[in-house]
Amino acid sequence: MKVLAAMSGGVDSAVAAARAVDAGHEVVAVHLALSRMPGTLRTGSRGCCTIEDSQDAQRVANMLGIPFYVWDFSERFKADVVDNFIDEYKAGRTPNPCLRCNEKIKFEALLDKAIALGFDKVVTGHYAEVGEDSEGNPELFRANAYAKDQSYVLGVLNAQQLKHCWFPLGKDASKADVRAEANERGFRVASKPDSHDICFIPEGDTRGWLNEKIGLEDGDILDLEGNKLGTHQGASGYTIGQRKGLNIGYPAPDGKPRFVLSISPVNNTVTVGPKEALQIAEIVGIRPSFAGKTVDSIGEEFDCEVQIRAHSDPVPAIAEYFYDDSEGGQELKVRVRPNEPFDSVAPGQSAVLYIGERVLGQCTIDETVSAVLENSAIGE
């Protein structure tokens, strides 16, 4: 089989590519250029995108004896990930750019190009597993190494994409095993640090970066009754659930700390309130996608687990897909009610639904319903 190995320059994709070579496939390595002006050196905990990372990837490809190329997706990345990130923040939502990058760049732009060029599969170092149901439909599962599981950020992949995906690290017990293997294989990247930050935001300073891009302006911090409590430095720079950095001069009447409950970029206001007000009893997700066969039981409630952040634990929930015809159309949405309320949810986040270890699909959180407040649309 002809396999394209997407290599970031990190340890995971290096080992994944090596295993594809070991399996006897015809493997070609590709590093994705996501910026027209890549930095020269790696800074902080970023695992891709610099020339140094590209060279790390190339060194491994050379050791494996496979050809190495750099493919330029910088324009697509800017339009589909960076600009989208800015637009979402402007609209008061909190997007996950890594998920978006998987959806639009790695498993759309890259995958499409790979297929057009005659490759059968794209292999990456993601921790997740692709399987097949009894009818031959591809399915996506959590990785064995639960702490490293990346099925959340892959939850957006559909059946067509999964058919061409290969994640050889899915069965590994831990990242330490993968590092040990890289070390045995003599890869210098064996001890390269994990990446955490958003790759296109230098120094991890999201607020400073957003300020540069969208020009944050001071505005009012309000309580739930609409009273002004203080001044913020730009609504889009805040995150729901945020406690620090509010700089409200006086305490709440009950003396308890206050948290960001909602952000309104239109009015440039930030609404704060007690921790309990962050409790979310229900979310409604839009643009659902299915990691395998499309769910056909529309309008029926079913038990599942739902995860709303890359590194949060899944919680048991009851979900239901339904058609919303309020706008005259027939838009498929999904309503999810966790057994225990969520603790702070921001619109724009992705919710990934699981049946056991299997990823059912993903949706973008559009509405939230408070567990404690009667007026669920906080501060709008």
């Binding site: 250029a33 190329y69 330029d72 910088s74 499409d112 060029l117």
Partner: protein
Amino acid sequence: MNSYFDFAATHPMPDEVRETYFEALKIVGNASSIHGSGRHAKELLENAREEIAEMLDAEPISVIFTSGGTEAINHAIKGIFWHRQSNGKDTILAPNAEHHATIDTIEWLEKNADASAVWLPVDSDAILQPETLKTGLAENAEKASLVTALWANNEVGSVNDVAELAEIAKDFEVPIHLDAVSALGYLPLSFRKSGADALSLSAHKIGGPVGVGALLLDRKLKLESLIHGGKQQRERSGTSDVAGAVAFAKALKIKTANMDSAIAELAKKRDYLVTEVMRVIPEARMLGARDSRLPGNVHFLFPGTTGDTMLFLLDRQGIDVSTGSACTAGVPEVSHVVMAMGYPEKEAAAALRFTIGDSTTIPEIDALVKVLPEIYQTASSVAG
């Protein structure tokens, strides 16, 4: 074994050059030392200098060995600019389809040394028309510091009428530097007849070693040094690379012997390649001048593709080609040369350059032409 269609990137080193180079590497002695070993090294160095001068119709004192074409170009442009800046001459005139060694040097001077740049538009073949230079100089007569231009364009192979350009610069009493890196070995070059004040060369483009080049300087030209130190050569410090100079001279000797027939032979293969490509892919559009053209250069736009995808697919078949444009971190840029010739960015991205040499064979060309239609079809199906 790969089929090599990228002679313009670097020329394979002929066996004779390699043997000469290895032999020269054996010598002991710094060419600046006074003892016997030093004198022996110096002798080899000066012989190489004299041979190169003679082959290029220049005086030996004009030949300054450098670490390559990029250093030579930097030295010429910055050196002349810095020397003349104090007299209020701060404007550099250059065509807008130059090599990055020139563009980036001028842009650096703009940013860091108060230089002004006048980018002269090239025509649709990437040629600087003499009239364009004349107008540019007339408009900047008071402030013109220097003119710099490619002898032959490294991407599309078009050859400028450099003697005419130098004549015009002379009329305005402005020094002119010529970047002859891609012309060397493929055209008869005479430093004297070119009328240039400075001329940059690179050894590896003709089969010499990488890291060796030369800057030819007219004896009357005044310029500042780029590299300061031991004053081993006029205007250029640094221990002389004797073996590099010897190998450079040898490579040039091979290129200069029977040059006319070699050029004719190369041009015949080039024209065959052009005809064959157009036969199998009628949509392909050849760029660059038809007549005033480097004999080894073939440059096409393959509409609806991107050059890097074509390059990828050809590489998978063991055929080495180039998009012709500069690479940033392994990604070819869209060619500023093709855009300067009037093509929008999207069309310019479809550029692909094939450069051939003496060792290129007709069966190699046939093998390339055979796989090209299918590759073109596949590349057309890949978006962006």
